[in-house]
């Protein structure tokens, strides 16, 4: 038997009995950031391919969600800071060692760029729209000429944004559940998959929906593969990682992870999408919502469970 006790009154809020310094805003932000990254990736990718005409939802409509998601996500992040008045300090330094620092800078660039992207399409989608001031109108028209350039900038940025949501966690080697190098790619793929699901859900174009059903299926496949890979990594790891993995295998987070993330968030919607591709009638919203919920719950599980895992005590 091994037991450790605190003799002195160590009752630090949010740390004892176990660490809980990051609350619900963090997983919500990670989800919205991943979703926004995925949507931007698809929008810029198909713009570069010159598919604006045939892929209206992907290139023109879905990106409207991006600035909203990013602003709500940033508000959530801001809400979780305990020293809010000093938040501007993030932008007086750039520290490449700190994922949070370069993530903040990437967001600083991507958020306004995504707003410009959306603005260049507003007049096209809502013909009665009036910008009121000619200077705004002219600026936006100027930007509209350079959509391809913006797409080339946004494509790598969206990948960085998507992968950073995972690297943010994996950089913490004090939390064995997070400390594995596959988390970045896993969060990126999951973000792309939630974005694909949202596109399927909102698209009115049959061909577009069909294509994204296929894309989402592939992404779900990759995601499952990475999850297995991550589990095998834990199993081959030191005892702290085995203890971390035990949370997902018989521990407190087993049911949420396997039932809500893997079965209801990945396998079941994948089965529905296959059924649809084989010609059965499935309401598109169902698998799409399941993938989105699964993606959100996945981030909650990772953030909450990760904070329980540790080296001492």
């Amino acid at each position: 038997m091994r037991e450790e006790l605190f003799v002195s009154g160590r009752n630090l809020p949010n740390i004892d009995p176990h660490l809980h310094a990051w609350h619900w805003p963090i997983p919500v932000y990670l989800f919205l950031g991943g979703l926004a990254a995925g949507l931007l990736f698809f929008a810029s990718y198909y713009t570069i391919l010159g598919k604006e005409k045939t892929m209206p939802t992907v290139v023109k409509w879905a990106p409207f969600i991006v600035p909203i998601a990013l602003v709500v996500g940033l508000m959530a992040l801001f809400y979780d800071l305990t020293n809010k008045l000093y938040f501007w300090r993030l932008y007086t330094t750039l520290r490449l060692e700190s994922p949070m620092s370069w993530g903040a800078w990437v967001l600083m660039l991507v958020t306004p760029l995504s707003m410009v992207w959306v603005a260049t399409y507003i007049k096209e989608l809502i013909p009665s729209w009036d910008w009121k001031f000619p200077i705004i109108e002219n600026t936006i028209e100027w930007f509209a000429k350079y959509r391809k350039v913006m797409a080339w900038i946004l494509l790598p940025m969206s990948i960085i944004l998507g992968i950073y949501t995972g690297i943010l966690l994996s950089a913490f080697n004090a939390r064995p559940l997070w400390n594995n190098s596959i988390l970045g790619p896993l969060f990126l793929v999951s973000g792309l998959s939630t974005a694909a699901a949202l596109i399927i859900w909102t698209s009115k174009d049959h061909a577009e929906r069909l294509l994204f059903s296929k894309i989402d299926l592939v992404l779900i496949g990759i995601e499952l593969f990475i999850i297995v890979h991550m589990m095998m990594g834990f199993m081959a790891g030191p005892s702290v990682q085995l203890e971390a993995a035990a949370l997902l295998f018989g521990g407190a987070y087993t049911v949420v992870f396997w039932v809500f993330v893997v079965i209801l968030g990945l396998l079941f919607p994948a089965a529905l999408e296959i059924a649809e591709l084989m010609g059965n009638k499935i309401p598109v919203a169902v698998p799409a919502i399941m993938v989105l919920m699964g993606g959100l719950i996945f981030r909650f599980v990772m953030v909450e469970a990760g904070q329980i895992t540790r080296y001492l005590y």
């Binding site: 038997m1 450790e4 630090l12 809020p13 740390i15 990051w22 979780d80 300090r89 520290r95 030191p238």
Partner: protein, 177 residues
């Protein structure tokens, strides 16, 4: 110069004087602490070992808290002491998440706080508050690079360990066993 601390687990009686001294010296808000006492019980009766330890920030050589800090509020000063500048800290808690020793907490005024190795005293050549106050003299503090410092002499003839060295942070607090 590299400040470090050695704590004799055989002499520590777990009185928590170091905790109180720190709270007083550093005006730690009521209900919080920068150091604390752990009692480890290992084994099965009748072969039971009890170890008492005074724990705090390890002023890690390879400090993850400094690395992950997005604003540079967490930094290392001369002598390897890890400090937080309250006016630069945004309270993102990244450093709390990154510390394997759970040595940091959020101060009620919003910034993150932790043991400073009493650098304001050390600068003047004094010992840390916890070292000065310990009734059993079980805490040794000083320059690890100086072979004649209290801490180097304490480590010289005794077996010692650090906590969770496998976390890879290079802790600078050693426990004499």
């Amino acid at each position: 110069m590299r400040y470090g601390m050695a704590i004799d687990t055989l002499k520590c009686v777990g009185c928590a004087d170091c905790v109180v001294a720190c709270q007083t010296e550093n005006k730690v808000p009521i209900g919080y602490c920068r150091d604390w006492i752990t009692e480890t019980v290992d084994g099965t009766y009748p072969l039971v070992e009890v170890e008492l330890r005074s724990e705090r920030c390890n002023h890690c050589e390879n400090s993850p808290c400094v690395r992950c800090c997005p604003t540079g509020a967490s930094h290392i000063i001369e002598g390897g002491i890890v400090l937080v500048t309250p006016e630069a800290c945004i309270g993102c808690s990244a450093c709390i998440e990154s510390c394997p020793y759970d040595a940091r907490y959020t101060h009620p005024s919003g910034h993150v706080d932790k043991c400073t190795f009493c650098h304001h005293r050390v600068e003047k050549g004094l010992n840390t508050a916890c070292t000065s106050v310990c009734p059993t003299h079980c805490i040794y503090f000083g320059d690890l690079d100086n072979p004649r410092s209290d801490v180097s002499l304490a480590l010289k003839n005794r077996k010692y360990k650090a906590l969770a060295p496998e976390a890879g942070t290079g802790p600078q607090i050693f426990y004499l066993i």
